[in-house]
Amino acid sequence: MIDLQFSHVSKKYRLPTDGDRPKRWYSRALRRKSGQMWALKNVSFSVNEGEALGIVGHNGAGKTTIMKLISGITTPTSGEISIRGRLAALVEVSSGFHPELTGIENIYLHGAMLGMRRSEIRKKIESIIEFSGVGRYIEVPVKRYSSGMYVRLGFAIAAHLDPDILLLDEVLAVGDAAFQAKCLERIGELRKSGRTIVFISHDLAAVYRLCDRAILLSHGAVLSDGAPRQVIDEYQQMTFAGQGDSADDETDSNKPARCTGIDFSAPESALGIRTGYPMVARLSYTASQPVPDAVFRVSIYWPSGYLCSQLTTESTKGGYQIEPGSGVIEFQCPDLPVVAGLYRVDLAIESKGLEVDFRQRCATLRVEPGKIAYGDFLIENTWKNTESRDAIRENSVSG
């Protein structure tokens, strides 16, 4: 069963040419061609019952517009959207709060705005208060709340919704780590119980973890639709294509040394770079003058932006002496421990601890699935049963 369907949906926004000013009575006569912006152009997709769809794309790609269209905040300029079942949008968890009202009053108000009946809220109120962890402050006007309490109460209400389709927009961007974990856990629970989920986020890791399928939006059109890993890879490639530093810059000519390229390869393998197999990284550089005490760095980043690891020539024995001319630094990695995915790469040359050349996000490293690995890293290991005498039979039983 299809729970949510977009059929050739387009959405046009009018851009007021003169700021926020509304049309004056005389403006029709003076009217210049007012600006238009197509936030969505002929977008079609559908979400099946029980499916979790992630929507990724750059700012302005149309993600929020899709959200607003589904939740009914605005309507399409053309096309049709059909929604099967009760829908709840978890947008900004506390936008419906009234500062003067107490926690309890706000639970009723916000719950009603989310489409809950009073009787339903009355049944769940104990549980909501408990989940929020606001405690005795529940009788206090929410204007006296800390921002954390505000957010927790907002999510506690939303978490008690019982929708068929759940819309999530960047909800995980707020709150501390513990709260985010709680959100994710709850969303995972809802997913397991067969809810249809539409998840809009910049957090690619969360999309990967939560969704069965993803679509990539760019400039109001669906660019790709498929498995999250594949779509996220495509999105990242698109991102890198726009962001990569150009190899030759005007300012580069006066640098004593600069990186000219990076090349990742898998020796003796036709399958590409794979988890648990050898990899070779070749960093090429040119130098116009000698660079003393130099260090080369190839930084590899997770999709989330955190440093995953670094290949470096740094050592306790002091740096490397770069002579004028060009060269290639070859890093040999006997078995690459990182799991499959697309990584971003920064290159850097330092001299005496000072930066000589730095190229941010100038390349990508694609790792294909190799040895079986879960989580972030492959931990090389061997195993055996040390207690049982008949180790081989035991293994076959538990496996």
Binding site: R84, V91, A112, D162, L190
Partner: protein, 321 residues
């Protein structure tokens, strides 16, 4: 390994227990078990299908709109209640304010129209007379003046969440209606004090107030939607309402209007309704039923139109606010 197997068994038993006996005793922090009712619901009840299309101005939106409004009726109730409680929060006098405004106005007008100028009231003490006009008028005007600003007051709400937007202006009407009821008690006290008899004719006031509420709702819906696009509405409204008040028989009686203008007066349905309210409550007479019937007809025509306009405008409200 035996240990792992044992663990697995325990785990399956636990989940089975959670499914069969729905006792949420294990973890009170978790919301009540949602798997079970959900599965049942999805099997038994066909889910409603909602189709979203580009907006259009049509009377059909009135019916679909009303159906959604019924689903959200709890929100209308909750919001109206909180309008009242928020309004009087952190105020020392609290609910007394609902009575204070008409009483203060009554005082001022009594002062002016008994000491400075004179107005014929056909024998009724002026305070009672003017209060009987102020009561419906304040209900009508405060509904409109509050509702017009209602939508633009919380732009965050309009761009972030969906609920039928008419609930906002309508909640102001419900709040004003509550104030009206409080002031009615004052009215009864005044009549008692001035020995103005209350008769069964006062019951005519009920349908009159219903028609007046219909008018107030139609105007509030239309102008609050317009205000989202043109803030001029909100700027003009206080002035407009002030002028309007003097064109309807609130502080003077319809009888004191020269006969040749009286027809013109009754073109404004509010004049007819307020005069009808006054006649039935303080004069103990039957109001002009013809004019009230005409007003009802006008409401029946204008309210659906205003609502249809509101619904067609609601579709893009979040884009222009």
């Amino acid at each position: 390994m035996p240990l792992a197997n044992g663990d697995k068994d325990v785990a399956t038993i636990q989940t089975r227990a959670a499914v069969t006996a729905d006792s949420p005793t294990s973890e009170p922090v978790e919301p009540p078990s949602l798997d079970q009712p959900y599965v049942a619901a999805s099997q038994d009840m066909p889910r409603p299908v909602k189709i979203i299309r580009p907006p259009s101005f049509s009377i059909r939106t009135v019916f679909t709109g009303l159906r959604t409004l019924v689903q959200y009726s709890d929100l209308l109730y909750t919001l109206s209640m909180f309008r009242l409680s928020v309004r009087y929060k952190q105020s020392a006098l609290g609910w007394t304010w609902a009575a204070l405004q008409p009483i203060a106005l009554m005082g001022i007008y009594t002062m002016i129209f008994t000491r400075v100028a004179h107005v014929s009231t056909s024998g009724v003490p002026y305070p009672v007379f003017v209060f009987s006009g102020l009561l419906p008028w304040i209900f009508f005007s405060s509904t409109i003046s509050n509702a017009v600003h209602g939508l633009v007051m919380y732009p965050n709400l309009l761009t972030k969440m969906y609920f039928p937007r008419e609930i906002i202006p309508l909640s102001y009407m419900v709040a004003s209606l509550t104030d009206f009821c409080i002031a009615s008690v004052i009215m009864a006290g005044l009549m008692l004090h001035y020995n103005v008899p209350l008769t069964w004719h006062a019951l005519y006031a009920v349908p009159i107030v219903v028609v007046l509420a219909g008018f107030a709702a139609a105007i509030a819906l239309f102008f609050s939607a317009l205000q989202v696009r043109f803030r001029d509405v909100g700027l003009a409204m206080p002035f407009l309402l002030q002028v309007w008040m003097f064109t309807v028989p609130v502080v003077y009686s319809l009888q004191s209007v020269p006969l040749k203008y009286r027809g013109l007066y009754l073109l404004d349905p509010i004049s007819g309704l307020i005069e009808g309210f006054r006649v039935s409550v303080i004069n103990g007479a039957t109001p002009d039923l013809g004019s009230i019937a005409l007003c009802s007809l006008l409401v029946l025509l204008s309210a659906p139109l205003a609502y249809a306009y509101f619904k067609s405008s609601e579709a893009t409200m979040a884009d222009v606010i």
